[in-house]
Amino acid sequence: MTLSVLTTGIGLRQPHYREVFDRRPGLAFVEVHSENFFLDGGASMRALDRTRELYPVSLHGVGLSLGSADHLVDRHLDKLERLVDRIQPEFVSEHLSWGCLGAEHFNDLLPMPLTHTALALVADRVDHVQNRLGRRILIENISAYVAYSDCDMTEPAFLAALARRTGCAILLDVNNLHVNAVNFGFDSIAWIEELPPSVVGQMHLAGHAVTADGLVDTHGSRVSEPVWALYAEACRRLGPKPTLIEWDTDLPSLDVLLDEAAAAHAIAEGATEVSSV
């Protein structure tokens, strides 16, 4: 069942624009990838302006490469700043990752070593971005397939320290957490317990693929049962947070996304009721 007004949102992708504009489903917010709108004008920008008239928007970046050992790409930040000025989004988020070195961009979210050096670097970058945008941003935990052997701290300790140093919020991607917990064999609930509830500003849910070499984050299917269970646990421990259904490959019908958003809404409501008893 699709509830009339949800506390959750969906990633809005081009094939669903028309239907969303016509039906205007009751969503708390919609998310788009910032880089898809680094344009001067045209049909995409017009659609985003229209979206903004109907919903709070979350600008989710995938290309800033906050953790690159090289300097931050100013031109990218300029474009993000221009987009933020135009859209006045509810949220602006990026990832704890790197994606470029020298002139070469990999256009992927590559993992950071969890070291004091990396923390200092990313904290400086987050400070810089927040100063430029004049607002708090959210930093998301990524899915990873390899882990570094020399680490000074756990990922939640890294994220908590980053939030403490910069005042940024954490975007907890529950699917990414589950993917990593399975890929590297750690306890995902203990991971959540290390994160102060107040720093978490948003949660993401998505589907992943199961392969012989581990779980792969695909954003191409429904949220899996273990991720729903972990989400319920996260809601209980962290309190309900604005939550988003992400789906990027093999995009289903809008109704499937709305169903998933409704399911997340129901879990968040249920978790709040239980914890308030």
Partner: protein, 259 residues
Amino acid sequence: MSDLRLIQQALAQSIRNPQSTAVLRFLAGEEGLVERRLAIYRANVAANAAKALSAAYPVLHRVVGEECFAGLAQAYRHEVPSSSGDLSEYGGAFAGFLDRCQRVQSLPYLPELARLEWQVHRAYGAADAQSWDPVGIRMVAPEQQHAIRFKFAAGTSVVESLYPLVRIWTIHQPGFQGEFEVDWSVAERALVARDGLHVTVTAAGAGDAAFIVATLNGARLGDAAAAALDAEAAFDLSAFLSHAITSNRICGFSLDEDH
């Protein structure tokens, strides 16, 4: 910081080259599994680039087919890696790459098709034309008119071709209905422009094309008109200008008087 750079250089190397083992000493876990996991990154990086290239070159993708396009995308990425975190900028050198590419020499129009599609891609995201009042042009004294510098709407460009480029582009549009025949004896100049939010691709006459190209390169009206007449003796300047202005293709002007 230097450690961080070393680690990132090693992982970057491993993504570029599956044979590179430099990153392994920084990674935890059983080596065989780690190597298979690294392949996931390689596949993601390749897929993201190929998807972006296909988004910019949908007609070329349809023309050469899935398998060939995948091969071209892979070879292109190795020759010209992405240089931006914004993938809509990826693929700008694809036409030049195709010029040199042996495997598609049986389709000699591909580089020109790529040039056209890149201009279409850029026009899609170009600034929306602002409405303007062309009445000011009439205020320009006749002896100053040659010094008018017209401004074409963002996204306007001309792609010269030895082939029926506009026809090829048109019949490969989604939803195209009609004859698929192509008269290969025709050489077309493609005019790319924005009509509202829509990108249009039309065949332009030699005079129109020369006028637009000269103006885009900064020429004043007098010089642009001379270039157009050079290209096509029958070029009708006033008919061209009145259409370009009423259709908002020209969206402003400045006066660049002689000193």
